[in-house]
């Protein structure tokens, strides 16, 4: 028997009464779903990934994409997902690959945390009338400040504060490597970071020269493959990042297929056209915390002591690891939770390795406080920050700022079809095919991303006002203003959050 026993996941329906045969869909689909024969648009259902590019641009609204209603016999254990995966692997003999973040229905802790608001005993503040401050400084802070008056009677700051990065809202752009995303995507993000006065991270693919002018808003990544790393590159930005791990694929390296390495990517990454760019799982010069320290200080030396950020995936022992990283000299710790996105990852790792970002923030923040070193590094949290509420909750749990990747891509049109690793992204985002890349206008994209984050900033200010505080630093680590709903006692203790129903004084009677 040949062929496949797999049935298509989606069905593409063309309403022939509406279709005027303009054939735009043939062109729009990056995955080659459509053909035209016998005066008809013919979809090849098994190629459809539900990216909705055709649906969005069909002038006649003639296309509908539906989930294939194919009913497997009901089985709580052998779900359609398991059955389909066995089919796929028995046909290919390969590891299953995927893109974007973990899509399994793990409990999303953010959705079980609620924020507080003022009533009567403390007034809420109206953000339309009063200032609400979101400015954040990322980096190492001294324990104590020394202010001294000189002979002329002028007070001077005596303490030398290491370089910090000022951002005007506590949201930054997550590292997404050049190669996995297109030039236009990267440019849209650079432009947004500059306009919003925040920052973006390069991924491990380096930074195209044309984007160097945005350097004041860029932290440059140095990952295990060292793609694109040169002294010049390291000095373009306001800081550097050592990538140890990524939330979507903790413990494994990166894999950019040769199809995604045309001329421009090859230039920036400094590798030949068409070769697979394989970044090793570990950094081969980092086999211990002392090694990490050497690289941190090497980067500091190379950049005139700009802040160094270390990015790790959230794993079981994240608190101890983060503490080691801070002690090794990192100025920022970037935590990437297990729902974080990726251009390409093995299914098994994406879906089954790592821990939620909510937990990682709480335990890292607590550990750094216990050790008295919380001021020595800022915490940037990432791994599926979906909305302003997630940002508020992450900050209340102890993060200094959140990083967004997928949310920014969705602003650019991404429909989370999870096919980034194919290089066929119909939206011009996760692809290097010139005809697809050209679809994404960076100006248009930047405007949409800025709109999104301006909306989020307004929402965060609204929440601060309701909480009766007017500066984001009063929310940071302020778990007293969070409550858990439907969470068991153990996880509440890990998060350091009280259950809903416990007020500020309710436990008094038990003590004193």
């Amino acid at each position: 028997m040949n062929g496949t026993v797999l049935q298509p996941e989606f069905l593409v329906r063309i309403d022939e009464d509406r279709c005027d045969q303009c054939k735009r869909c043939l062109e729009y689909c990056g995955f080659g779903t459509f053909s035209f024969a016998n005066d008809k648009i013919l979809p090849n259902h098994s190629k459809c990934v539900a990216c909705h590019r055709c649906v969005t641009f069909c002038p006649e609204l003639a296309i509908t994409v539906v989930e294939n209603p194919l009913s497997f016999r009901n089985h709580a254990n052998w779900t359609p997902r398991h059955i389909r995966d066995v089919f796929k692997q028995s046909e290919t003999g390969g590891m299953l690959l995927t893109g974007m973040g973990n899509d399994l229905p793990y409990r999303i802790l953010f959705d079980h945390l609620v924020l507080d608001a003022c009533q009567v005993t403390n007034p809420s503040i109206d953000p339309l009338r009063e200032p609400m401050e979101l400015r954040t400084y990322l980096g190492r802070k001294p324990d104590v400040l020394e202010i001294k008056r000189n002979e002329q009677g002028t007070d001077l700051l005596k303490t030398n504060i290491e370089k910090n990065i000022k951002i005007e809202l506590p949201i930054v752009f997550a590292p997404m490597s050049y190669g996995s995303i297109s030039f236009n995507t990267m440019k849209a993000i650079c432009m947004s970071a500059a306009k919003l006065n925040t920052l973006m991270y390069t991924g491990e693919g380096g930074l195209p020269r044309d984007l160097y002018p945005y350097g004041d808003h860029i932290i440059l990544q140095c990952a295990s493959g060292r793609f694109g790393v040169s002294p010049e590159y390291l000095n373009v930005g306001i800081g550097t990042q050592i990538k140890i791990g990524q939330g979507a694929k903790p413990g494994i390296g990166g894999h950019l297929p040769g199809e995604k390495i045309p001329e421009n990517i090859s230039q920036t990454r400094m590798i030949p056209v068409g070769t697979d760019a394989l970044s090793p799982a570990p950094q081969h010069d980092i086999y211990s915390i002392e090694d990490l320290r050497m690289l941190i200080y090497a980067l500091k030396e190379a950049t005139g002591y700009k802040p160094v950020c270390v990015k790790i995936a959230a794993v079981h022992n994240v608190a101890a690891i983060a503490s080691g990283i801070v002690r090794a000299g990192a100025d920022l710790v970037y935590l990437d939770g297990f729902r974080g996105g990726t251009g390409a990852a093995p299914n098994i790792v994406r879906d089954h390795v790592g821990i939620p970002i909510e937990v990682a923030i709480a335990v890292v923040d607590e550990r750094l406080r216990e050790e008295g070193i919380r001021n020595k590094a800022s915490i940037v949290a990432a791994g599926s920050i979906r909305c302003a509420a997630d940002v508020c909750k992450a900050i209340a749990l102890g993060a200094d700022a959140c990083a967004i990747g997928t949310a920014a891509l969705i602003a650019l049109g991404c429909h989370v079809c999870q096919k980034c690793y194919t290089g066929n992204c119909s939206w011009g985002i996760a692809t290097q095919k010139p005809e697809l890349v050209g679809r994404l206008d960076p100006e248009w994209g930047a405007e949409r991303i800025c709109n999104l984050l301006e909306a989020w900033a307004t929402e965060i200010k609204e929440v601060l006002g309701a909480l009766g505080i007017n500066a984001v630093e009063s929310l940071r680590g302020n778990k007293e203003r969070l409550r858990g709903i439907g969470l068991d006692r153990t996880i509440l203790e890990v998060l350091g959050v009280k259950p809903a129903g416990i007020g500020m004084g309710d436990y008094y009677e038990n003590r004193g």
């Binding site: 003022c118 005993t121 403390n122 007034p123 503040i125 009063e130 200032p131 401050e133 400015r135 400084y137 802070k141 001294p142 104590v144 400040l145 020394e146 202010i147 008056r149 002028t154 007070d155 001077l156 700051l157 303490t159 504060i161 910090n164 406080r369 216990e370 008295g372 919380r374 001021n375 909480l467 009766g468 505080i469 007017n470 500066a471 630093e473 009063s474 929310l475 940071r476 680590g477 302020n478 778990k479 007293e480 203003r481 006692r489 509440l492 203790e493 350091g496 009280k498 416990i502 007020g503 500020m504 004084g505 309710d506 436990y507 008094y508 003590r511 004193g512």
Partner: protein
């Protein structure tokens, strides 16, 4: 165990007076002032702080202790004996009054840390006292340190201010600085330790308001060795003053840049040197920003201070009359003591009102 430390929220009346030449008056004036603010309390807590009351024993830390039981007293005295020289001890005089029912027992001890414990890992005498006070408050059941400074003391409990004043015979103490507080808690603590002032060493704080940033202030203080144990947001202010002024030596004029910091838009407009200082203060001490509606009065052996939040959501009035400085939650509290005072003003949001005692 999950940390379920709690706090009570409340509205309150505050009053205070300080004579910069250290002229002492008895407790009648402050009691009168507090009685006039009756509407701001509901009889569920009141207290007084008095400075300069133990001139003969001013070199000793005066530990005011509150006991619920004989055991508590015994255990605490054993503990104090282990770590301090006790120069003298006595019950704090009280009188039976109609309105105070079933009060705890109060003792005071004049102590110095035993030399053999000093200095341990760079600790000062003061840090040593703080640790021991926190140990008693968290570790010894039924015992509570009401105050622990030199030449000062706090008297507080459940009742209206005039009841507490009568109970503790406040009129018999003579002080150059007095602070009074009357409380309107939104729940019923039924615990004398929950009344204001809150203290550590010679810092005594009374507070009207609610500290919406309490959760992070408390965690920040914990990182610096202060345990918040009194189920109230107000105590954080006492610890923050101790941390900033005594331990970190932040000059007084910059304390409000931390506790009620100016907005960035104003900081950005400052001249270079000042901008640098204020920016650094917010960067480094962001977790010490006290956010939410508050007015606080803080006493210490150097004088008296008043501060309201960065948008002034709670009232505070100050007045100067000759050598006297008055700070109160309203003018009525001041006029009650000094009816014809001329120099009355409403401090701006985040403005630290400072009264400094002249050297002896």
């Amino acid at each position: 165990m999950m940390d379920l430390d709690e706090r009570n929220v409340s509205g309150c009346g505050l009053s205070s007076m300080m004579n910069k030449k250290r002229v002492k008056v008895d407790g009648q004036a402050i009691t009168k002032s507090m009685r006039n603010l009756r509407e701001r309390g509901n009889g569920l807590g009141a207290g007084f702080a008095a400075y300069g009351i133990y001139p003969d024993r001013k070199d000793y830390f005066a530990l005011h202790l509150m006991y619920d039981s004989k055991d508590a007293k015994k255990n605490t005295e054993d503990y104090i004996n282990d770590y301090f020289h006790i120069s003298s001890k006595e019950p704090i005089p009280t009188r039976k009054t109609e309105s105070i029912i079933d009060p705890p027992v109060f003792w005071r001890y004049f102590v110095l840390p035993q030399e053999k414990f000093l200095p341990t890992d760079g600790d000062s005498e003061e840090d040593f006292v703080i640790k021991k006070v926190m140990h008693i408050n968290t570790g010894i059941e039924g015992a509570f340190v009401v105050s622990s400074g030199k030449d000062m003391g706090v008297f507080k409990g459940i009742g209206y201010p005039e009841d507490i004043s009568e109970f503790f015979k406040i009129e018999e103490y003579k002080a150059h600085t007095w602070i009074g507080h009357s409380r309107f808690p939104t729940n019923t603590p039924g615990w004398w330790g929950g009344a204001h002032p809150f203290t550590i060493l010679d810092w005594a704080v009374v507070h009207n308001g609610e500290i919406s940033s309490y959760g992070i202030n408390k965690r920040y203080l914990k990182m610096h060795g202060y345990n918040c144990t009194m189920q109230t947001d107000s105590e954080v202010v006492a610890y923050l003053f101790d941390l900033l002024i005594r331990r970190h030596r932040i000059p007084l004029e910059y304390v409000s840049d931390v506790l009620a910091s100016p907005f960035w838009k104003n900081i950005d407009l400052e001249e270079e040197d000042q901008r640098q200082i204020r920016t650094a203060l917010r960067m480094v001490y962001g977790s010490a920003l006290v956010n939410g509606p508050f007015a606080v009065i803080i006493g210490h052996n150097g004088g008296l201070m008043g501060l309201s939040d960065r948008v002034k959501l709670r009232p505070m009035v100050a007045a100067r009359d000759g050598d006297w400085l008055y700070i109160s939650s309203e003018e009525a509290g001041i006029r009650e003591i000094s009816p014809s005072v001329q120099n009355v003003w409403h401090p701006r949001a985040g403005e630290l009102v400072v009264g400094e005692l002249e050297e002896n």
